[in-house]
């Protein structure tokens, strides 16, 4: 292998580091109208009246939108497969506002100053309603968050808006009660995970214009351009063919841009005025009016025999989707489907619960997508079980965890929104990850070390799995076209959001064609130009889009051989192509020469091929995470001294970029475990609406991350690859909680693990 398994530089790297204008806002036409959004000051209210006259008459204001003059089509903003697994519960603008920050009205003016001034001139009269701010009290509450008559969801989504339920899910295998009864040791605990903000560095941005054919063009910082096109068509009542969506470079997404945000507003302004329009969210808007991670509560019961063999896992969950049901069902199902199969030797397993509405900013997709929430609960409970069994937590995992060539019935039962697919785990080096990680952190010595003094060190661990794309639902496609100089255009619907997917997909094409990666010119995500792809989410790009590229490249190889056979007038069996030359027994021609002849001289035609791929299965990457912490028993402060992550992501196409994906994921997981906390006041107003109050880890907080990728090969992946985008984020919450326990004997069961909570627990323990 020459081009894959190689740490080459990113193809767009120089453009990024040298600050070229490549992001959405850098490219917006200078004469764009500036779009600003008036947002609700109330957590729940009905708009009685909006007076727009003053704003409209302000010099420089070109358009004011309210719920009275925009299309009223109910839709979901979540960028997911189709039919959509999220309820239709959102209008472009509505008479009801459902959280502080919800859209009330939109103004467009010739400059920012005027737009802001116009916002202040809008007069809105609200009927304030009683909000639901506690997700544990939402179900069946008197306040109904979605009273609208046209609320609906697909038949496979069990929404019950009258009871504030966006989705419900239940599954069970075996006799839960009997297995719990017969277990020698049972752990039964409740855990909470908090909302987390994505804090991608580039805020949400979009601009739009009408092209010369009268079509709407939307350029947006999105992870899902094709889903954006479909959702906009529905929301705006336009045929899909009238809309073109282009994705420039994206300054990070992490799931936060797997949805539409400002797109319908700029689009409507452009449709109404005929002029280009742009929106650039303020950081406050990003925090208040886009997505967070779904906060969840889990009641976990695990039963085992006295030798540590787990018989039963029972998980009851409750998830808070905020004001809209985006990704409500699917994140909740993933909480089960990407965690429970790790312990595939159980006799009985159950998972279920509700996803409820509240008057908080909506929750949506976020790296880890439900799995990280449940991982914290289950992997914490595992350690509590180990403690009860008086067993080393590493050993407990080794006894019970999934291994290569095994399966779990959960794969078939639980997919994302719907049934899953049966699969055997063809590549799984989880055992090796656990073993290597234990060595690297020096588990043997550090786990048993005597813990005393004011500052106490301890180690903790957790294991995790994710998937690679959504099997049988999500599709990616790639088109390859030969140029007359022998180079290739690679057109991909896949969306590079900073992960380096343009680079690794080029590497895959180059490997198949046996040409240097520099011969491949990737262009990604323009719904007019590139083939369909569901976009960057569910850890799908390397696996799903990568397989599509592989198939397209294999077809291209055949086309080249066929063209060579025609040129030499011999049967194709006698022709070989080695990346440089097309050869027969007696003749040869360079690819470059053949391409030139094909386009200018003889038997002229364009060589172009397309490959599509949809996974029959969704192979899991696996990981073992080990945290070493030092806890100050006088202040409760936890220092994360070192984090060891050993990951099986199959064979990495670009080891550097794969490793950085893990490192970036770890830092976000550490943020969730220790620092990041979304806080509201008693009226549902977000207090952590800037980057001073919402603290993501800085360079100084991240002391050391030690990432190793084990040698693994996934036979269904392109050149043995699986996914790596999400897995890195999953283990830190549980591993750090377990390390804190192993250091000072206090168990934090609600994230984040702050000094206050640790100190309080230490005090309670002393009494």
């Amino acid at each position: 292998m020459k081009e894959v398994k190689r740490p080459i530089n990113k193809v767009d790297g120089y453009g990024l580091v040298s600050g070229q204008p490549v992001y959405t806002d850098d490219l917006a036409p200078k004469n764009s109208l500036v779009v600003k959004i008036l947002r609700s000051p109330h957590a729940f209210a009905r708009i009685k009246n909006i007076n727009t006259e003053k704003a409209k008459s302000l010099e420089g204001v070109e358009c004011v939108l309210t719920y009275k003059n925009v299309p009223r089509n109910i839709f979901t903003r979540a960028g997911q497969g189709y039919p959509e697994p999220s309820p239709y519960d959102k209008y472009i603008l509505d008479e009801y506002v459902r959280y502080v920050g919800d859209e009330v009205a939109v103004v467009a003016a010739r400059d920012e100053f005027t737009a802001e001034k116009a916002l202040k001139l809008l007069e809105v009269e609200y009927e304030v309603l009683e909000p639901v701010l506690d997700f544990e009290k939402s179900k069946g509450s008197k306040s109904i968050i979605h009273p609208e008559k046209d609320y609906k969801s697909e038949s496979f989504v069990s929404s019950d808006p009258k009871n504030n339920i966006a989705a419900t899910y239940e599954m069970s295998i075996g006799d839960i009660e009997k297995e719990i009864e017969e277990s020698d040791v049972v752990v039964k605990e409740r855990f909470y995970t908090q909302a987390q903000a994505h804090v991608m560095m580039e805020p949400h941005a979009a601009y739009s214009y009408i092209d010369m054919q009268g079509r709407l063009v939307v350029v947006t910082s999105t992870q899902v351009p094709f889903h954006v096109r479909r959702i906009l068509a529905r929301a705006l009542d336009l045929p899909i063919k009238k809309i073109r969506v282009i994705k420039p470079r994206v300054g990070g997404g992490f799931g936060g841009k797997q949805a539409i945000h400002g797109e319908p507003y700029v689009a409507l302004v452009t449709l109404k005025t005929g002029k280009p329009a742009k929106v650039y969210y303020t950081r406050k808007e990003v925090f208040e009016s886009t997505y967070t991670r779904h906060p969840m509560r889990f009641d976990v019961t695990i039963g085992a025999d006295k030798n540590g063999k787990i018989n039963v896992i029972d998980v009851r969950g409750l998830s808070d989707t905020g004001a809209y049901g985006e990704h409500a069902l699917t994140t909740f199902m993933v909480a089960g489907s990407k965690v429970l199969p790790m312990y595939n030797k159980v006799k009985a397993v159950r998972f279920g619960g509700d996803v409820v509405y509240t008057n908080h900013p909506p929750a949506g997709a976020y790296r880890g997508y439900g799995a990280i929430q449940a991982n914290f609960a289950i992997e914490s409970a595992m350690d509590m079980l180990a403690y009860k069994l008086n067993m080393d937590p590493v050993k407990l995992r080794e006894i019970n965890m999934i291994r290569e060539k095994e399966t779990s019935p959960i794969f078939k039962i639980m997919g994302e929104g719907r049934e899953g697919v049966d699969m055997i785990v063809r590549s799984c080096k989880l055992d090796e990850c656990v073993e290597k990680g234990a060595k690297k952190i020096d588990w043997e010595n550090k786990f048993k070390a005597k813990k005393e003094g004011k500052k106490v060190k301890g180690v903790g661990m957790a294991i995790a799995m994710q998937g690679s794309g959504i099997a049988k639902i999500d599709m990616g496609a790639a088109t390859i076209k030969l140029n007359e100089d022998g180079s290739f255009n690679l057109l991909i619907g896949a969306t590079d959001i900073g992960t380096g997917s343009d680079t690794i997909l080029s590497q895959i094409a180059a490997e198949v064609l046996n040409v240097p990666t520099e011969s491949i010119i990737p262009y990604s995500s323009d719904t007019d130009v590139t083939p369909f792809d569901v976009g960057a989410y569910a850890s799908s790009t390397t696996y799903v889009s990568g397989n599509a590229v592989r198939i397209a490249a294999e077809k291209m190889k055949e086309e080249i051989i066929k063209a060579g056979a025609e040129y030499f007038e011999v049967p194709i069996e006698e022709v070989e192509f080695d990346g440089k030359e097309i050869r027969t027994k007696d003749n040869k021609i360079t690819l470059q020469k053949l391409a030139e002849i094909l386009y200018y001289n003889e038997n002229q035609k364009q060589l172009s091929t397309t490959g599509s791929y949809v996974g029959d299965e969704s192979p899991s990457p696996f990981m073992a995470g080990y945290a070493e912490v030092e806890v100050d028993t006088e202040t409760g402060k936890v220092d994360l001294l070192n984090y060891v992550a050993v990951v099986d992501c199959g064979t990495p196409i670009n080891p550097n970029l794969a490793k950085v994906q893990v490192e970036g994921g770890l830092a976000q997981g550490i943020g969730m475990a220790m620092y990041e906390e979304v806080i509201y006041d008693k009226n549902g107003r977000l207090l952590t609406n800037n980057m001073m109050n919402y603290k993501i880890p800085s360079r100084v907080d991240i002391k050391n991350l030690d990432v190793e990728l084990v040698d693994s090969y996934e036979p269904t992946g392109p050149f043995g690859a699986k996914s790596v985008g999400e897995i890195g984020i999953d283990t830190p919450p549980a591993a750090i909680a377990n390390a804190v326990y192993n250091a000072v004997g206090v168990r934090i069961k609600d994230l984040p693990i702050t000094p206050e909570k640790v100190l309080k627990a230490l005090k309670e323990k002393q009494n």
């Binding site: 530089n9 204008p21 560095m201 580039e202 994206v250 900073g498 380096g500 490192e663 980057m691």
Partner: protein, 152 residues
Amino acid sequence: MKIKMTINNVLKEVEVSPSEFLLDVLRRLDYMSVKKGCDTGTCGVCTVLMDGKPVLSCSVLAASADGHKITTIEGLRDDPEFKAISQALLDEGADQCGFCSPGLILNVYAMKRDLKNPTEEEMKKYLVGNLCRCTGYMPQMRAIKKYFEVRS
């Protein structure tokens, strides 16, 4: 009001409003390398050099840049130090979404001049204001350490 700034060695006379920040003025003048990530001077992506010192252009009033020298990444394109820093980042794959890169590079550029043989801790402290959500900081640190070893 009219102010004069030397931006990347070119003297410019610019009309600004008293409440405008340097960041917005620079972007208005097409220095698109200067990014906007927050409204509170916390993320570091808007970093530029003012008379060689790193400043957060989102927190500096344009008016106060009157008479000063501003350097953005566009102005360093041919600078060998810029090339060395950026190459080190590229080699580590530390350019993920790249949104934080220009700001970080400008700060590393200034750090090279300000700190002699810094320790890793000193480097982290110097660069603490440059947040990055993609890389977990490790590959950036590997790159910066390499750059310092090779050059110092």
